[in-house]
Symmetry: C2
Subunit: 403 residues, 2 copies
């Protein structure tokens, strides 16, 4: 097996570990920035690594359209093409094609219309695997049936069985020994289907497992319900990946429930429209109130953007559509996410995740959301934390946390 998962420490259901693949090791819980078209938008590989990112994601669907997986293979694979020598994970294209106008969906696969030309394109488990082999990522995802939200029990049920049959075809096709195939648990919001899907999936004995069909418009509590249903049935010795998630508060909740890997376009996409993350939640730096604001986005953050530039400058750049605006907000947002992950890892090691979770929600999450989750909203909750000497419960130098 070309993937090794090392489970270092547990704190409740939460896990601190590391995943080693041919292109290196990444620490878990891990957040993977999304590099849709062979680049994390606005970042050089060097800037991306500087945010603390140890693995990034590529999109099979987009890379197949441009520049094409065969061309990428010819040029030495995705790592070489995008000059990212650390681990890469590619999705299967399943999520994208299920959100496009479909021409056909049957046991064989999916036919859909290409956005621009209207040309019909077919994706099957075999085709997705071949594309992903050409791209050459360390971790590849099974081609699954991702149902929309909300959906009927019957549709969700059919989807988990077809996903299972497709997984068998994926495993049969994926012959590259350097790539590790992850199976995907579906089942929508139906707990019993999540359990069945988890059991069907782990029967294939794969190096890792994902929970899919989330982040499709459901609420946070429904998303966590899906995690709670599936997670206990996943083997402890393999990494678990919650696909397409999410906001910082989603990630904290899912880590607490035993999830190891995350990906999401939010920090990068929101950055380009001027939305940035701070210790007290996210805000739009382009608002009029920041016009003369000489402070950095987050005065405790040590990213390149916060070390050198004011909110006023960044607001100006985004306002006049300067490239540097997106570069700086993306740098900050990804650094914020990676600092959060680092703090989560340190909290698990310290056996303090419960306390951190409460402190995080008290400081960061909106009150309404905290109530919905049934969490204590007591701002004094964080007073007992060992990292309370830091102004924030998300320290920007996580290495200073008690280990």
């Amino acid at each position: 097996m070309s993937l090794h998962f090392d489970l270092i420490k547990k704190d409740g259901r939460a896990r601190r570990g590391s995943v080693s693949v041919p292109h290196g090791t990444f620490q878990t819980p891990a957040f993977m920035p999304v590099g849709t078209r062979g680049t994390v938008k606005g970042m050089t590989p060097k800037q991306l690594a500087d945010t603390g990112s140890e693995i990034c994601l590529g999109n099979t669907y987009h890379l197949n359209l441009a520049p094409g997986d065969k061309l990428i293979a010819k040029l030495g694979g995705l790592h070489s093409f995008m000059a990212w020598d650390k681990p890469i994970l590619t999705d299967s294209g399943g999520f994208q094609v299920f959100s496009l106008p479909r021409i056909g969906l049957d046991e064989e696969g999916v036919t859909f219309k290409y956005e621009k030309s209207g040309k019909p394109i077919t994706l099957t488990p075999e085709i997705s695997m071949k594309i992903q082999q050409n791209l050459g990522a360390d971790i590849v995802m099974a081609f699954d049936v991702c149902v929309e939200f909300p959906t009927t029990y019957k549709a969700a049920q059919e989807a988990i069985y077809r996903t299972d049959r497709w997984l068998a075809r994926c495993k049969e096709t994926m012959t590259n020994k350097h790539q590790s195939l992850f199976g995907i648990v579906q089942g929508s919001v139906y707990d019993d289907l999540r359990v069945v899907s988890a059991q069907l999936t782990i029967d294939h004995d794969l190096p890792g497992y994902a929970i899919g069909g989330v982040s499709v418009g459901e609420t946070l509590d429904l998303m966590m319900q899906a995690v709670d249903a599936a997670e206990p049935h996943l083997p402890e010795g393999r990494p678990r990946y919650l696909m397409g998630v999410g906001y910082p508060e989603d990630i904290v909740e899912a880590v607490w429930r035993g999830i190891d890997m995350f990906d999401c376009v939010l920090p990068t996409r929101l950055a380009r429209s001027g939305v940035v993350f701070g210790r007290h939640g996210r805000f739009r730096v382009t608002k009029g109130q920041y016009r003369q604001d000489k402070f950095p986005i987050d005065s405790q953050c040590s990213c390149y953007a916060c070390e050198h530039f004011s909110r006023a400058y960044i607001k100006h750049l985004i306002g006049v559509k300067e490239i540097l605006g997106s570069v700086l907000t993306t740098t900050h947002n990804l650094t914020f996410y990676q600092n959060l992950m680092s703090t989560l890892r340190a909290s698990i090691v310290a056996g303090k995740l419960d306390a951190f979770r409460n402190a995080f929600h008290a400081e960061y999450t909106a009150e309404e959301q905290v109530k919905k989750l049934g969490l204590p909203a007591d701002p004094d909750a964080k007073d007992d934390l060992p990292w309370d000497t830091f102004h924030s419960c998300i320290p920007t130098h996580p290495e200073r946390l008690p280990q």
Copy 2:
């Protein structure tokens, strides 16, 4: 005087020197990238410095519109605002306003319509100076009358005298002792007017002088004719700046004629449309022929783009409008320009500028252009050069040149 010019070495008319201003020293001949709205498009200050740039330019007109010079002053000035702690030069806004629909132009100043709102805006020598004082650049440019090309003798004659009267008002208004005012020689393509304008301008005894009214649509030989007319009348002990110039071949010719400073949007603007500079001229990396090209833009270049990425990757990025595409081509083009400047400086010190000029044109400039300039187009001309051990006449490690 807050500007010190050190003339280190002459080779024919060409000069190797250095200019010291409050924010540091830059070596001449120097190329200044243009940071129109408080950022050189696509570059962080760190990336900009890494290209070898030692001074950059800001545009009074654009910065006055957004975010406003008063706001920038409030936030500590342009250096602090854009986090560029090296020298900055600001233009006067004259060039921009003379290219916009004018409502009025009289002895007092210019009134024109703001592009977006149609709101009338007035610029006078006093207003331009006050804006530039708020921006706080090390070098500020006089507000002059820039005539279009072609223009009548009479219009060009009136312009040089008004430019002279306006220069007196600029000098009167510019009271910040840390900023150095440069006067601008006008006179269009009329040699005698260039001579008179040079004489009028140097009578004001300023720390530096510019040749303006070039790069407005005239041919390279007419531009060089203007330099040839004005340059002999400028004092040896002050830096000379040829405004808005230009292509690498223009710069080589102007350096040979004794010019010390240059600025131009070409390397950055062309970069964003996929046009890059190489040792054999510029080319469009988005052309079909580069689709599978695994080589860097310039295999001898040591910039971040050329060290890590293929032409195929950069073509892909520009094709799908990814930010990183512009970042990489801009990085390369500015590095190419700065390597050229560095090589020009080394050639002057080595007393080999004639030979380098011939070799450069033989290798880089199109044959037709070489004929027009009356230059020897003999490709063997470079064989006698000390830097012939380099593949190119523009070495990417100029420090290896014989000094």
